[in-house]
Subunit: 429 residues, 2 copies
């Protein structure tokens, strides 16, 4: 449902959104419950920061490290819940911002919650929409109290507060929910990033208070941009409040990889051992292996699904561009060692043909392959941590995997962000 | 493979296409074999022309009446062979014209034939491409010997003869293959239609002679436009040659339904009882019920898959437009009585949401539903024929089913044909 509330011109006079169906008092607030045991750390690598664990959600246990496919609008693009299950996916990400705007929280509640709406029995994490509001929506006014923004779909005006962000996610019925955060630009000054961080802290505390009793798992989001000092302060403050998990936000936004790595290392080391650590928006295989070594447990990114739709298939050797004429007559599958539905049933030549014809099946088969690769990658990582061989896994991974060149990667990221700015490729952000 | 042969300017000096990999002598020609027993008529309705039978192909037996989903480019748009199997599909149509141009017959042969290329173990009928050459390609010159045309994809020039049309289809490895026909415009004069029909006859005879030994089933195509006299002559001539099956071509091209019906009735009555009868390009549920009553056994059409991608779902009550806001909050599936994957797993509200978001999964779920509906329709028809209750089936179908208004239908068909002319919606013709 779009918020039917007519706002004052500058939005400043409003606080809360009482007219919206989903915003009136549901559940009891102010109690923190049921989340202390939502994570079980099973093993820590002796020769790196890598960990193996288990996230315990109302929709099943999720072995970590885990990669979450992105289904912003209540669908992981091109695939069914059945496909996801076959691939071995246990948890997906959906986006409260998108679902709030369309179809509206009231619709999803009426159908019986997000799981039922999507036909998905596994776990769901919802992003609060902070990132989308600050990057996607027409931003009108941010105060410590909340944000007035315009929908990227129809320009309608909405007001969101930390309390509302929690209520929306609870109404959707997500298993893991995220605080509303103020996401600064990756090129912001120290003062700008500091201000956004401080607001994120105030909002995080309000989210914690706003939370209903129940078994939903609430994560805070550490901000602080590329400034180690701010990352330290953010981690220290948020961990002092006691959340069920901690995300590292505001990274992988176009900055050089070395900086992302440094910040992930800095931040992960500051987070409590007994809580899950989630690096938001990171999804290239080499970055994931790296971040697992730094102690990260959870990841999400549109990368595997988006590059799939562009004809880029992930393999243990690196990315393979199936539109390339080298695949025109290739009888073997894209990756002969891959056990996914696509590689078991189709030649590289067939995939090449489907992409050249722009057949819709192309996008689905490539998505199935890439998500299967991510699943196999995470399984491999986890097994290695459990066996105490993560370092040699990493070495052998790096020996085989040709990462995308930094220049190409940055150009691609810039293209995505520009396209998003032009409101084009927004749908799976 | 694109034909690499450089043609003379008017193409007239050429006959055959010796330079193409796929055109040099494969198999023995001139023998007709193995096809006499490719159809078994099991039951004829006592109160109508409706028949139940079985088409016996190298890739399994196909109960008739049957509807063939269209997979012109070697894929039924949006669905996998596994999806088709789950739906109960036993046979699909692919298009020799499209596959000849892309990826090229050599590629498909190298991969092991069309079945292996597509990952499809069921039966395949290939259309020769006559319709596409005459409607889609840039037409250069038609003589009794063959056609020179330009590819709609890249403008490259190709020369096709009846012999080549057969060889292409045999090389693809189709189970049922079609003669090359000269398809006149549905608004052509008597003389124009007569000329095209006579050429179709000459070509049909050459196709019959060109055919290799083997168990491929060759169908002739009765032409004659909307002129009963020509339909009679065409049916008489072609049946005198002795084909394994007979198609009725050149209908459902934008003419009023009453005319289509009259021509189908005229033509079907002239075809031998012991051979399958195939009405090309017809696919709306009400037209199919009608044509079965006239004695037709096989159908193909892009209609169910194309309208699916447009958000139109077929039900026993008629077409349902899922983008309509009436479905925004509908908790039940589109058709509560439907047992397809889509209706078993998702609410109408979810489908509505996917279409509104233009999510690729929408097109797939709608396609699965529509093909499942077609499958259920054909099953119902066949059961009724077997039980001797086709007339009451038809009555009850018509009592429930609201056909698309003639005006809307003609406008839609015109839109499709226009779009095709603009080279836009060509991909599943």
């Amino acid at each position: 449902m779009s918020c039917p509330l007519a706002l004052t011109t500058d939005g400043s006079a409003l606080y809360g959104c009482g007219a919206c169906l989903w915003s009136v008092g549901k559940g009891r607030r102010g109690r923190i419950a049921g989340s202390r045991d939502s994570f079980r750390l099973i093993k820590t690598s002796s020769d790196s920061g890598a960990r193996a664990g288990e996230l315990l959600t109302p929709h099943g246990s999720v072995p970590t490290p885990v990669f979450l496919p992105v289904g912003s609008q209540g669908t992981v693009k091109t695939v069914t819940p059945g496909d996801l299950e076959s691939i071995g996916v246990k948890m997906v990400l959906a986006n409260a911002y998108h679902l709030f705007l369309r179809p509206g929280v009231d619709v999803i509640e009426r159908i019986g919650g997000l799981h039922r709406f999507m036909g998905w029995d596994g776990a769901v994490l919802t992003d609060s929409g902070g990132y989308q509001i600050f990057s996607l929506a027409g931003l009108r006014k941010v105060t410590d109290r909340g944000v007035v923004f315009r929908s990227h779909i129809d320009g309608s005006q909405h007001y969101i507060t930390p309390e509302l962000a929690i209520e929306i996610q609870e109404s959707l019925g997500a298993d893991v929910i995220m605080v509303l955060d103020d996401v600064p630009s990756s090129t912001g000054s120290f003062e700008e990033v500091q201000q956004a961080m401080e607001r994120t802290h105030v909002w995080a505390e309000r989210c914690l208070r706003a939370r209903s009793a129940g078994d939903r798992i609430l994560f805070a989001i550490v901000q602080g941009g590329l400034f180690p000092e701010l990352r330290h302060r953010s981690a220290a403050y948020l961990t002092s409040l006691g959340f069920s998990g901690y995300a590292v936000g505001g990274l992988s936004l176009g900055e050089p990889k070395a900086q992302t790595r440094a910040m992930v290392g800095e931040t992960a080391a500051l987070l409590p051992e007994d809580r899950p650590r989630y690096l938001m928006g990171v999804g290239s295989p080499d970055d994931i292996v790296d971040a697992v070594g730094a102690g990260i447990d959870m990841f999400d990114s549109v990368l595997p699904t988006r590059v799939a739709r562009n004809g880029t298939l992930l393999t243990w050797q690196g990315r393979c561009h199936i539109r390339n004429s080298a695949y025109r007559e290739m009888e073997s599958p894209v990756d002969p060692d891959c056990n996914c539905y696509t590689c078991r049933h189709f030649s590289a030549a067939y995939l090449h043909h489907l992409f050249r014809c722009e057949e819709l099946l192309a996008y689905r088969l490539a998505t199935v392959h890439n998500l299967s690769f991510m699943s196999a990658l995470m399984d491999g990582i986890r097994r290695a941590v459990m066996d105490g061989t993560f370092n040699s896994f990493e070495e052998s991974f790096r020996a085989g995997y040709q990462p995308t060149e930094e220049k190409v990667r940055l150009a691609q990221k810039r293209k995505w962000l520009d396209a998003r700015d032009r409101r084009m490729m927004i749908q799976d952000e």
